[in-house]
């Protein structure tokens, strides 16, 4: 048996057989194994046009995450759209913007990664502060992605990519201070899209900066809908409190602050404990994602965070890759002889392990970032609390008070554009109304003299 393996390995080193080998593996849909054998074989000879085609084909099945461990010089040998895309992304991270744009230019319009390459182009121009080109690139990304959205096996990927590009178009306008344009861009994202719940907060900020506090509050209140119970953002609570403060409705603002501390403090402690106790584990967070009994053990809050994380694209991509590797391993175990299994399985096990660890790390980082956000907005809310205290003292020392203790809504305070719907709230959230709410509050900031009682 040992001799047989040796013979097989020695045969692999010869060009003709090796080529046959990876082609054979590809034919059997052992894409990860084929990719590994492909690199081993081609690395010792000149790259041909056929090689480039094969590599591109294989990467479409494995995903480009598997190239993470390969050095830039190695990948640069293969002028495929996939490798050029990976290298352009690396160049962007290294702040080599011209190099990144140069590589993006080489990716053909028909290539699978062309839409994401346009997205990358937008990021490069964003770094270079070229707003017009950035906006244009995100538009190109959207158009290219939406054309491919029905491509079998990639429906989710292109849908999410098109939504992200559309979101970034709106964000480009927001960053440039063109807030009305930003609001228009945000409204182009359909309610049934994956990104929509996340963008409510950004739209609320745009309305806030436009001075339409009521519309901003209406968008934030959408998160209270039972349909969106896994979408909770400390920043949304902060914005609501800030708006009430700006409207001089101090009691409402304070109520949100108190609720924030009451809600997030114990949960923060719980989550921080989970993170601290398992920070060195390579599997804990992965298991937390995919084993409901583990989530239950750590309470409802952890479960809700995990549910939200699972909806994110990177976890979908990661999980798809893991499932594909597992499937390939199963097939090899089932259909191949022991010698072939011994040849292919160690690499697959390694890929599998790396992917598990990658996902585990991503969850860990997400939880860490979430905790950081909770803590940041906790201190910002504390500042609002101090401001309320200070303003209340000012009123006392000026012998004044607000015109009304508690200003209530009036339809006259609702600003509405022709494209914005209007319903009155009837103590229930309706799916088609979500995101179209507006409060009708009046600013309470006008002050009046306190009356003195005289003898």
């Amino acid at each position: 048996m040992r001799y047989l393996t040796l013979i097989l390995l020695s045969l692999l080193s010869t060009e003709v057989f090796a080529k046959k080998m990876y082609e054979k593996l590809e034919g059997k849909r052992y894409y990860f194994s084929a990719l590994n054998i492909f690199f081993k074989e081609v690395s010792v000879r000149n790259v041909t046009e056929d090689d480039v085609e094969v590599l591109d084909r294989l990467l479409q099945h494995t995903g480009i995450e598997v190239l993470d461990g390969y050095e830039t010089e190695v990948l640069a040998k293969y002028p495929t759209g996939s490798t050029q895309f990976v290298l352009a992304r690396r160049a962007l991270k290294e702040k080599k913007f011209s190099r990144s744009l140069e590589l993006i230019k080489q990716i053909s319009k028909s290539h699978h990664f062309y839409p994401e390459a346009m997205f990358l182009k937008g990021q490069v121009y964003g770094e270079q502060k070229d707003i017009n080109k950035e906006y244009q690139a995100y538009g190109e990304c959207y158009n290219a992605a939406i054309k491919r959205v029905k491509q079998k096996g990639y429906v989710h990927y292109f849908k999410v990519l098109s939504e992200i590009c559309l979101s970034d178009r709106a964000r480009t306008k927001y960053d440039a201070g063109k807030l009305k344009d930003a609001v228009n861009e945000y409204s182009k994202i359909p309610k049934n899209s994956y990104k929509w719940p996340y963008l409510l907060l950004e739209r609320a900020w745009a309305y806030y900066r436009l001075g339409d506090y009521n519309r901003a509050l209406g968008l934030i209140v959408t998160y209270k809908s039972p349909l969106l119970d896994t979408y909770f953002f400390p920043e949304a609570e902060y914005l609501a409190s800030l708006i009430y403060y700006k409207l001089c409705l101090f009691k409402d603002s304070s109520a949100i602050i108190q609720h924030y501390y009451k809600f997030y403090r114990p949960r923060y402690v719980q989550l921080e404990k989970v993170l601290r106790e398992n920070k060195n584990s390579n599997t804990f967070f992965y298991n937390l994602m995919f084993r409901p009994e583990k989530q239950k053990a750590h309470g409802e809050f952890v479960k809700q965070i995990v549910v939200r994380l699972k909806k994110e694209s990177r976890f979908n991509f990661g999980m798809t890759s893991i499932l594909r590797v597992n499937h390939e391993m199963k097939l090899i175990k089932k259909n191949e002889k022991t010698t072939t299994q011994n040849l292919l399985m160690p690499h697959l096990k390694e890929v599998n392990k790396n992917m598990y660890q990658r996902l585990n790390g991503l969850v860990k980082v997400e939880i860490f970032n979430f905790l950081k956000t909770v803590s940041f907005f906790s201190s910002e809310l504390y500042k609002i609390d101090l401001e309320i205290l200070s303003k209340s003292k000012d009123l006392i020392y000026e012998n004044k008070k607000f015109i009304s203790d508690r200003s209530r809504g009036d339809l006259g305070n609702v600003k509405r554009s022709p494209s914005e719907y209007f319903w009155t709230f009837e103590k229930a959230f309706w799916a088609d109304e979500l995101g179209d709410y507006s409060f009708a509050l009046k600013s309470n900031c006008q002050t009046i003299e306190r009356t003195k009682a005289k003898k």
Binding site: E65, Q123, G126, I164, D175, K383, E398, A453, K454, K455
Partner: protein, 84 residues
């Protein structure tokens, strides 16, 4: 000279420790005093009980520089990372 300095030092410290001799101090508890609040006659405005009264003045104002989102870079970065 050395002895002279030493003797001078001893003399000074001896003076420092000598208590001041004054008349004998007699300590007494304060005698019981009774106030008839109803008979007290005070001048001034009568304010409604519970009303907070302060001297009107302008206070020094501290601006806390509250967070307002000017850029969306973190959202953009997060989305870009979600595709990696």
């Amino acid at each position: 000279m050395k002895y002279l300095l030493l003797s001078l030092l001893f003399t000074l410290s001896a003076w420092a420790q000598t208590p001041e001799t004054k008349g004998k101090v007699i300590y007494q508890y304060k005698k019981y005093e009774k106030f008839d609040m109803g008979n007290l006659d005070l001048n001034g405005e009568l304010i409604v009980p519970g009303e907070v009264s302060v001297r009107e003045r302008e206070r020094f104002k501290i601006n806390m520089d509250l967070f307002e989102r000017k850029k969306t870079n973190d959202f953009k970065t997060s989305d870009a990372q979600s595709l990696e």
